[in-house]
């Protein structure tokens, strides 16, 4: 399971149209997820430069180190593969890429580059191509295209959501089996279970960077939204955040639930209710034409209305796709409007220092028929109580 060769061809063609419209002669792409999106080329990122060149007209090219040459030669329909030996050259890969662009007639071209391009790399390219003009604006075309998912991307995300749900269930089951495993053991149990299922069910794993990740934190450790699994064991009375992500064909979904070891007290009952209300309030607004900032405001407002203002530590959500976090952002600073095919997390959370936290996250697609949940593990309080 991965994207089809025709998907990548379509995306290259669409990018070329956008470059022409923006009066750019070509775009240099360095971000690994963008290279996968355009070329279907998935690799382990290291310090070695790997880049793509997409001219507004003509054949795209890939630049790779010798280490990846055989791998890159498997990219379908690639007319130009340029290979250097190692990451410091000589010459330095940025200089070597610039030399090829000169040879291909781009000495005075209008070139786009990505916002995230390291400033040192940009400086070398500018020095080696002094007659070219450089546009960060044009470099945002790929990020913009990636915001809206096509049906084959949504199919991968749906499968990833199914697996993320399965990881939450596997970790909860490990608690139910007794003995209160440590946070690390719970994370491992979920990874083992999903990997076995993926190997059995999928014809190919796109494994770069791992296929699954997880945050498992119990009790006071759950008061930190980005706490990491530790060797500590949950204790009776603890909340237990089970937060798992999974990638299928490179596309990432997440499922997060907050469990309780035994009956929660009144404060955690109230926090859990507030989080579920906030999620419902944001989902209600998750429709084409709504502003991301408004979906965020609705969720945060529900948390405040429940008297939990002091316990808020983060926004309502973020886009998902080839990156676990990507645009659009369900936060105040993103005024962009939702479109059908966008996929976001909806994950209100509340955190009480020294005691714990509650967060519920689902992966949700925006459609004209309303929000479509790609994760659907139970979330009601009654289903969240574990008796180990």
């Amino acid at each position: 399971v991965k994207l089809s060769p025709s998907f990548h061809r379509r995306k290259i063609a669409e990018l070329q149209r956008r470059l022409a419209e923006a009066a750019l002669d070509g775009l240099l792409v360095f971000k690994p997820p963008n290279l996968y999106y355009l070329f279907g080329f998935f690799f382990i990122p290291t310090e070695r430069t790997i880049a793509g060149w997409i001219p507004a007209q003509g054949e795209p090219a890939l630049f790779v180190p010798r280490l990846e040459a055989e791998h890159a030669s498997g990219v379908e329909g690639l007319a130009r593969l340029e290979v250097y030996f190692e990451h410091l050259g000589p010459p330095l890969p940025a200089d070597w890429i610039a030399e090829r662009l000169r040879r291909w007639g781009a000495s005075r071209a209008r070139l786009g580059y990505e916002d995230g391009l390291p400033s040192g790399t940009l400086a070398r390219l500018q020095k080696e191509l002094p007659g070219a003009s450089w546009s960060a604006e044009g470099g945002r075309a790929v990020a913009d295209m990636r915001r809206v998912k096509e049906p084959e991307e949504l199919a991968l995300l749906r499968k990833a959501g199914e697996y993320a749900d399965f990881m939450v269930a596997a970790a909860a089951d490990a608690v139910r089996q007794g003995g209160l495993p440590s946070e690390i053991e719970l994370a491992q149990a979920a990874h083992q279970a999903v990997l076995a299922r993926m190997v059995a069910e999928l014809d190919e794993l796109v494994y770069a960077g791992g296929v699954s990740g997880g945050l498992v934190c119990a009790g006071p450790r759950a008061a930190r939204p980005h706490g990491l699994p530790s060797a500590a064991r949950p204790r009776p009375g603890d909340c237990l955040v089970l937060s798992f992500g999974c990638s299928v064909g490179g596309y990432h979904a997440e499922s997060e639930r907050t469990y309780f070891v035994g009956e929660p007290g009144p404060q955690f009952r109230a926090m859990q209710a507030a989080v579920l209300d906030a999620q419902a309030a944001s989902l209600e607004r998750l429709a084409p034409g709504q502003a991301c900032a408004e979906v965020n405001a609705a969720g945060l407002q529900a948390l405040r209305a429940a008297g939990c203002d002091d316990l808020i530590r983060h926004r309502i959500g973020h886009g998902m796709g080839l990156e676990p976090h990507e645009p659009p952002w369900l936060e105040e600073g993103d005024p962009s409007l939702l479109r059908p095919g966008m996929v976001v997390s909806v994950e209100p959370g509340l955190y009480l220092a020294g005691q714990g936290g509650c967060r519920v996250s689902d992966t949700v697609a925006v459609t004209t028929a309303g929000p479509q949940l790609l994760t659907s593990h139970p979330r009601d309080l009654a289903a969240m109580i574990l008796e180990p």
Copy 2:
């Protein structure tokens, strides 16, 4: 097990001396490993800006999102912690950081920044602090300090090397137990085994980004140096590359061995012998005062002398520490001289398309008394033959 608070204090003081010498007023630090090195602050990197400000004189500051505020407040001796809400603000974190620097009198300062700083962030900072001057050169001070490891860093690296060796042994044992597990299963077996041992032996895991990683590739898949574990099983007659890395207290070591499922044929015997000879040739030159490029040349020359020129796909090695790959680089483009306390991989490899590959990697410290191997799993051909 992690670095001591006094380590971080010393590093901040050393950096301040270097900034003063370079006539800089301060340095902005964005790279996660540099923030850990200077502040002891380890976190899950996301799109949210986390930055440190180290003035040449006076108190350093950390800039974090609300999500990490409680976590960052645990940094010992930190006088200034500045907290923003979310990653797009408003205002944008880069603008908000610039505003604080202005308030702290840095409007016309000479500022250092890191080479890897995204060009978009640098552009915003420059726009918001138009009177400041900006030096990439000065930003290299932290990377330069990190090249040479102190005894407490070496102790962490030694432990990490022990665990990496243990992972190789665990995966080889899983093959010996029979049934020829898949590459993914072998990788998982190694991770499970080392995690259980780390939880039992270490008082604290610095778990950010995972504590262990692995490449497991058999037969034709091993012909790609950066191949990823697949659901395929090694077959009798295959080579089997077991390449594992492990982090202790944030410090990373690697151990890689090439096994054979049954007796290898003459070609793989010759490749394995050439790789071991090349490793010995590079280790012989791994001494203070030697140029990195020369250590690389000695190893590659040994591979060529064995008639394997066509099978070379990469350099001899790379530095290791808070990053799995970091300076110095054992490759042609790094003329820098080795110093006592540097730690590098020495990992010659040979790759035969469609058939397999041989690579042997050890993590090695440079000392005045000769190279000190931090990994020591057996490597002779006789020990590499598995009879499942």
